[in-house]
Symmetry: C2
């Protein structure tokens, strides 16, 4: 008999929430940028939440991280260098290493996200110990303004467009991104839940379209994110073309998903008209 | 200031639940078959739950109903007749009428589902007043055993494979379905959440594959169903071919979805191997 049950709930609106039964809360800190909580949940293993929203869980992080790295990988010239903005958990860098990227710069604004990930998700954060990865603790927006380096892929692995991540959805930032892509390079950003966060998708799509010649939104199903449906938006100065190359299967990603994720429901199309 | 908050929660497992804040509970009855509850929710309007699981809400019922009717409509010979098994809310029949079906038989086992829908979802249940729809209150499994009628589409719009709907996932039933399809006709069943209800999808896919030459699973995103990802499985003795015909947009369904819903994530493919 359990006398006490503990649940962590994420509010999707004032009137809707998803709740995870937790074995224990392992951490709760307020940093200069945000609040970070770490729960040990029954169904999804360890769960990292920032400002009350689920960022990753042990059980389903593979979907988000495969989709933000593997899918753009297969387009245009084979990439070897990447800049990750955000991504302090190390999950995006880890997938890029598996794809044999040679040089990855990862700019995370909040040192605590990296430290929490090193402690509670050591398998994921181990990417930061690889010599191909250069971790920078600092503001990605400033980093890119002051750098002359160019990258084959720029991955904007941010939180929602409120608080520290707001500037990561601005046209000015997208313009800086464009100037730091190699010829035919691709930028990709997470762009929120089309169902609950129309504004994030609309900001990302319209912002990128104002700067890049080619912009495409794609979708993935993520059970621990609001509504279960998530969007990503990628942009390039070169038309998107899938390379003629064997596609490696992830746990979610495969050759079918590489083609199928771009087919959008009518209500999603209406957001990005 | 609200002194009391009421929430309806659906448990996806012992350790995970989605909760809707409700203005009022409008109904709670136990019938011979199941428990039916009706809530007025803030975010999704009226919500019908059977045995504690969300069946439909005013706000997002269009996704499920478009996907179980419109998608199979566009394959093979243009259909004019349909049998719906379950579907006591009238939502599937309503979409078939919009697609100009001429003759629809709707067999619902629980009279109370129809009555509740007539009272609380009159716009949806109005399909039962159309003279092209013949409503039969009775067991769909027995109905099909005792009938000689054949249909262009058979739609299995059931609850989960426990309780009254269990027989609707059996090979024997699928065999009866096959014998009641016209030449080139198509059967389609809802087959659960691939994430939380692997068994439903596996039962449907393997059961139909044991009986039909052509079986295909497709997916849709439904925010109020477990995990947000839902599967449907369709079957035919004739190879599936999309007709050369203008595709009408739904609110979710469109020409892209007609093509894109068949691309499956790797973890879903593994369930139906």
């Amino acid at each position: 008999m359990r006398l006490i049950e503990n649940w962590f709930s994420e509010r999707y609106s004032d009137n809707l929430q998803l709740s995870f039964r937790v074995k224990d809360q392992l951490l709760s800190i307020k940093t200069d940028y945000q609040r970070i909580d770490l729960f040990d949940t029954y169904d999804f293993g360890k769960l990292l939440s920032i400002d009350g929203t689920v960022q990753l869980t042990e059980r389903d992080e593979y979907i988000y991280h495969e989709m933000i790295t593997m899918l753009p990988y297969y387009f245009n010239t084979k990439p070897e260098t990447a800049l990750i903005i955000g991504g302090g958990d190390g999950g995006a860098a880890k997938r890029l290493l598996k794809l044999n990227f040679k040089n990855i710069v990862n700019a995370e604004i909040d040192r605590n996200v990296v430290e929490v990930s090193r402690k509670y998700f050591p398998e994921i954060a181990s990417s930061f110990d690889d010599k191909r990865v250069k971790l920078i603790i600092g503001d990605g927006i400033k980093y890119i303004k002051n750098s002359n380096e160019k990258f084959d892929r720029i991955i904007i692995d941010s939180t929602d467009p409120v608080g520290p991540a707001e500037g990561l959805f601005s046209k000015e930032f997208y313009n800086d991104i464009k100037n730091h892509l190699t010829d035919g390079g691709i930028a990709v950003t997470q762009s929120g839940s089309p169902y609950y966060q129309e504004k994030a998708l609309s900001l990302a799509y319209k912002g990128l379209s104002g700067v890049f010649s080619n912009v495409k939104t794609y979708l993935a199903f993520i059970p621990t994110y609001p509504s279960g449906l998530w969007s990503f938006t990628m942009a390039s100065e070169r038309a998107f073309k899938i390379r003629d190359e064997n596609v490696i299967n992830g746990t979610y990603f495969n050759k079918d998903i590489l083609a199928g994720s771009f087919y959008l429901p009518e209500f999603v199309k209406k957001i990005i008209i």
